[in-house]
Symmetry: C2
Subunit: 351 residues, 2 copies
DNA sequence: ATCACTTGTGGGAGCGCTCCCACACTACCT
DNA sequence: AGGTAGTGTGGGAGCGCTCCCACAAGTGAT
């Protein structure tokens, strides 16, 4: 027995050393097998694998993290309170894509909310301790200090959406401009002549671009843009409802609304119903995101589809590449670090 | 310069050793200060704290985990697909409570989905590697092997709800039986005479207890229990809708429904509306959970309030105590490890 | 003065890995 | 025969902590 009486360790998990002894090889060799190094002979590999199986060996992640200076974990940082996270289908869709892509790797995903100052404080601590190899940042507002903190700490990061046209960080975005254009063009082609829009928070670049697209489509069609037809929302259902009420008051003659998100469209629908307007007979309604609520709305909502799940997957791919690049002796830096995925209009009964 | 040229470590974070040198003390002393040991003189503590601040020292969690055999992280395990997680307000409420309670500690929360076989496989690996100090298990079905795996691995765990009356694991539950009783009594007191119930999945103990409460309340009031008035749902909106349709077909004369969850009540409401029944005029409706949808329903839903957020907090308290107990030289084992919190009927317009 | 505690402190040993140097062994050219 | 690669392998050193033993210095009873 050891002189040091195994300080109360429960279970007594086997170590690399023990696997090596069992397989009759050295520690280094076992490590190579575990990590899939090609420089191991077939016979040795088989022997080691047998020993691993017999002993039920599972690597100690803390030791590995300490020695190799990596954690095999990445964080999905949501700079919003939990409530928003759950209310917004966008997040769950991203999470699904991220989870799917990640399940093919050994990486672990942490979900971190940074919706309050206290939470942000804790997150900063967490990042400073380098407890994750990389960060996925979703829903970032223009003035958010988080991206800068990350580059300062030299932590690989990818953001969903951009903060501006020339986002310095690697990012994955959808073509918000083109998507908005297609929505408005669709409404025009249906003979609508008085088209309003409810925007998202304009400190989110994507919301800004959707508004730009709305303007451009009208302009291209030779229609004047009435500024009173543009009302800001905040991506929430309540915000959509408020915006719609305002529109009905100032521009009661409108015959179509392009909402900057499905959730806001749902709010707008309530306000329209309250006011006795029928959809699409009196007012056509188009959303953005094509999330689950669009399909389940009554009537089903025409919406601009963003491939959110695919975006989640792409973010992971980019991030993993970033992480690989950040390690010593990385092959070469990536070139295309900004991805913009196409959108597509899905027509349903609301327009 | 070191002979070993600092293998590409980015940032070059300060170590305990460097802090010690700066403060003119030994490593042990710095460690004691960091960990809040009382056996340090005031003067030394101040000096060390100054050095920590000057150097911007942040402990290396991997090293700490390796040396102390703990991770300072706990996992919230959801044995459901993400979709269910987002569709069910119960989870977000638990998460909110857990997050709130945890934000007062240094513990990190991981959210892990174990909804598919592949995911469960990965989770098992993860747990075997002891990457968390403890586990919170929500929404466990009677035959789930996860709890046994956890006790086998000797990982402290707390479950929300119980699997049976004599749950071996520490658990936090609400008084489902009494809650269901109060709902039915309320309907009876409102003069309803023909009360149906839509149950949750009966392999969830809580759903079973709600059904027991429904039966007991009717019995206590001297009313016979009509088995055709009991229809199983599955906690989903769609399930509630289906169950309600069935009830309307087999028992068209009913004048009240007690649904085993708010989400199912929302589904039932849709079916009632389709059938042209008015709420509460024709049929009174009562839900369970008192989640956000109860308040937002039209009409607002009478519901049995479970203090879900408080339950989340209690789970954390229990789990932290369990973890403390599992460490060597723990003071004493806990006694009360099963917590049952009271429920309360919240009356609204639906009944 | 001696002994027995108590309080504060320094630093060795060790946690379980990865990294990398050294070395044996084999091939295949000159 | 002597080079010159390449291929597998063993194991030392070290990652940055915590734990704990040893010990100095102070305090009070005998």
């Amino acid at each position: 027995m050891a002189a040091h009486p195994a300080r109360g360790r429960s279970g007594g998990r086997p170590t690399l050393e023990e696997v090596a002894a069992r397989a009759g090889v050295g520690r280094g060799t076992v490590s190579r097998v575990i990590n899939g190094s090609p420089r191991v002979s077939e016979a040795t590999r088989t022997a080691v694998e047998a020993a691993v199986a017999e002993l039920g060996y599972v690597p100690n992640t803390a030791a590995r993290a300490l020695a190799a200076n990596r954690t095999d974990a990445i964080a999905l940082v949501v700079p919003e309170p939990e409530t928003r996270f759950f209310a917004e289908p966008y997040f769950s869709d991203v999470l699904r894509g991220v989870g799917a892509e990640l399940s093919e790797t050994e990486m672990q995903l942490l979900l971190i909310f940074a919706g309050s100052d206290q939470r942000r404080q804790r997150l900063a601590q967490y990042l400073a301790a380098h407890r994750v190899d990389g960060v996925l940042l979703v829903s970032v507002h223009a003035d958010d200090p988080l991206p800068d903190l990350l580059s300062q700490l030299e932590i690989p990061a990818v953001i969903s959406g951009r903060r501006s046209a020339d986002e310095p960080l690697p990012s994955v975005d959808s073509d918000n401009f083109a998507g908005a254009c297609s929505a408005v063009e669709h409404l025009l082609s249906r003979g609508r002549t008085s088209i309003a829009t409810i925007t998202g928070r304009l400190d989110v670049y994507g919301a800004q671009r959707r508004l730009d697209g709305y303007r451009a489509a009208l302009r291209d069609a030779g229609r004047p843009v009435d500024e009173r037809m543009i009302v800001p929302g905040d991506f929430t259902e309540e915000g959509g409802r408020r915006a719609m009420r305002e529109l009905l008051e100032t521009r009661p003659g409108l015959d179509a609304v392009f909402a900057g998100s499905d959730v806001m469209a749902a709010g707008a629908r309530q306000a329209l119903r309250e006011a006795g307007r029928r959809i699409p007979d009196d007012v056509a309604l188009v959303g953005f995101d094509d999330s689950a609520i669009a399909r389940h709305m009554d009537p089903p909502l025409t919406s601009v589809r963003q491939p959110i799940e695919e975006m989640g997957r792409a973010m992971i791919d980019l991030l993993l590449a970033e992480i690989a690049d950040s390690r010593p002796f990385a092959a070469r830096r990536l070139e295309r670090r900004q991805l913009v995925l196409p959108t597509r209009l899905v027509e349903r009964a609301s327009s």
